[in-house]
Amino acid sequence: MPLSLQQVEHIAELAKLALTDEEKERYRLQLSAILEYADMLQRLDLDGVPPMSHAVALTNITRPDEPAASSPRDEILANTPDHKDGLIRVRPILE
């Protein structure tokens, strides 16, 4: 079943993407086509099959919690859109 415009807008909001009306319509059609193709997975009997998350099973990778040198602060700040007094500035989150 093709996606509705409301579904596309809901996904865009979850993904925090500003989309134009034209983009919304294009993605509605393209995602519907891709999902229709992906429906072939519904044919498989997957009862009792465990999901695979990684190719090589590793568990509990830990390291000693020791202080170590980090990237230089000025190089980090040089990449920020806005900073002041060594801190990254953002728009107010609570007004």
């Binding site: 993407l17 500003a18 891709i34 997975l41 999901p51 695979m52 990449n79």
Partner: protein, 494 residues
């Protein structure tokens, strides 16, 4: 032979003998880039001054070694290499082919880059890629499309198309790419060079900008199999900074090349020899299988029954992981930030809306949907279970055979623009590389002939951590053929 046409191992011998300096070699390559890259467009950025400075340091090291002796210099000392622009390079902008990172200058090197530099390799610059490695042609780069050196009207493949084109056009002696669903093997195949996707966990992903973290692997692109082994040797191995990098000993990949393949069992998966494969591609791959047989290998027909489900599973899993990984681009810490906005959420939405290109937005949308409440079980979880079945296909096959051999891509390089408007059509170019990625096993592409004058790649897939056998088969094949010595005719067109 001109310096630019040398392989890494040939150049290394000349450098150690003192018959060539790294500065001469690097200058020759930079001149070639200057002359040819305006037409091929493999590089997003070239760093000539830094490259020449590294070359001079390498020459000083080599001169000292010739004078005073001591340990043999590292194999990559003074060798000019290209790096896909999705690997962080300290002080050199790293854009991932995206507008959202246009001004991002990493404060650190990726571990793989650091390891090349530790050997004294020369970094020439950063190569073009589909945006965040999402694509099969470089057409999704926000900057420009790279051309296939064999036919400038065609794509080089992708997403590591810049790296593959640079190596094919002798504009680098070797390169690093990254492979999530085929992004090293497919462009290597389409450009007629060698490209290896290592086993998941073999190479540290630290400093590789994340696309789909359970699939991403860095891999070498080279002019021949020996060079590919040299590059893999340099970058493989455990790294405490990547918790998914595996702490297992790294074999001697160069020693692994020797010994031939007599008695080796080569599996031919029937699902990879089906309708839809271009006739010339199928012919070239079948001829390659006969060469392997002639070298003493036994061909065994095998079945990987869940092959057809790799594509839908991949295009749910990879976008799902991408949608989570790309949540970090919020206009706060680095990259594009649209400041003309009502509030912080508006700023984030607009930054992402303007900063990401169409394919990246499409995959974020698809992945967000596949993970969203009510659809997680039907899509993402189902895809992860399918992934288990695909891995079991390989596990069963590797009980019968040592490696698998099949095409890399169903067609040769396609014309620029041909598949750009139809995402599903584009996704189909990865149909033979996705299963290997989902299973986490290793695979290589080696040149095995031409169809319609364009290169065809033979894919050799090996079990987890069995790069030695994959390289040995690839090397044996290469020594028996001369496809890897063919070069595109770029000079004559100038």
């Amino acid at each position: 032979m001109s310096a630019h046409a040398l392989t890494i191992h040939e150049a290394g011998e000349l450098l150690r003998a003192g018959d060539l300096s790294s500065a001469e070699l690097t200058r020759a390559i930079l001149e070639r880039i200057h002359r040819l890259d305006p037409r091929v467009r493999a590089y997003l950025r070239v760093v000539p001054e830094a490259a020449l400075a590294q070359a001079e340091q390498a020459d000083a090291h080599l001169a000292r070694w010739r004078r005073e002796g001591g340990a043999l210099p590292p194999r990559l000392l003074g060798i000019p290499l290209a790096i896909k622009d999705i690997l962080c390079t300290r002080g050199i902008p790293t854009t991932c082919g995206s507008r959202i990172l246009e001004n991002f200058v990493p404060p650190y090197d990726a571990t793989a880059v650091e390891r090349l530099k530790a050997q004294g390799a020369v970094v020439l610059g950063k190569t073009n890629t589909d945006e965040f490695a999402m694509g099969s042609s470089t057409e999704n780069s926000a900057y420009f499309t790279t051309r296939n050196p064999w036919d400038l009207s065609r794509v080089p493949g992708g997403s590591s198309g810049g790296s593959a084109a640079a190596v094919a056009a002798d504009m680098a002696l070797g390169a690093l790419g990254s492979d999530t669903g085929g992004s090293v093997r497919q462009p290597a195949g389409l450009c007629g060079v060698v490209g290896l996707k290592p086993t998941y966990g073999r190479v540290s992903r630290w400093g590789l900008v994340a696309f789909a973290s359970s699939l991403d692997q860095i891999g070498p692109i080279a002019k021949d199999v020996r060079d590919c082994a040299i590059l893999l040797q340099a970058i493989a191995g455990h790294d405490p900074r990547d918790s998914t990098s595996v702490d297992a000993p790294v074999p001697d990949y160069l020693a692994a090349l020797e010994g031939g393949i007599r008695g080796l069992r080569v599996g031919v998966p029937r699902e990879y020899f089906v309708e839809g494969v271009q006739a010339g591609v199928a012919d070239a791959v079948r001829a390659a299988l006969r060469v392997l047989e002639g070298l003493g290998a036994t061909l065994v027909e095998v079945s990987l029954p869940h092959t057809e489900y790799a594509l839908p599973a991949y295009y749910l899993i990879a976008p799902a992981e991408a949608s989570a990984n790309l949540a970090r681009y919020d206009g706060v810490k680095y990259g594009l930030s649209v400041r003309e906005s009502a509030d912080v959420w508006d700023m984030i939405r607009r930054t992402r809306g303007q900063g990401f290109g169409p394919e990246v937005k499409r995959r974020i949308m698809l992945g967000t949907y596949a993970l969203s409440a009510g659809y997680y079980d039907a899509y993402y979880l189902r895809a992860q279970k399918t992934r288990t079945l695909i891995r079991q296909d390989f596990d069963r096959a590797f009980q019968q055979v040592d490696v698998l051999a099949c095409p890399v891509s169903p067609t040769v390089a396609f014309p620029i623009g041909e598949r750009a408007e139809d995402p599903l059509q584009m996704y189909l170019s990865d149909v033979f590389t996705l299963a290997c990625s989902l299973a986490g096993v290793c695979g290589i592409s080696v040149p095995c002939g031409f169809a319609d004058g364009l290169p065809v790649g033979l894919q050799i897939i090996g079990n987890v951590f069995d790069e030695p056998t994959v390289l040995r088969v690839a090397y044996a094949y290469e020594q028996a053929t001369d496809w890897h010595t063919r070069k595109p005719k770029l000079d004559e067109e100038v």
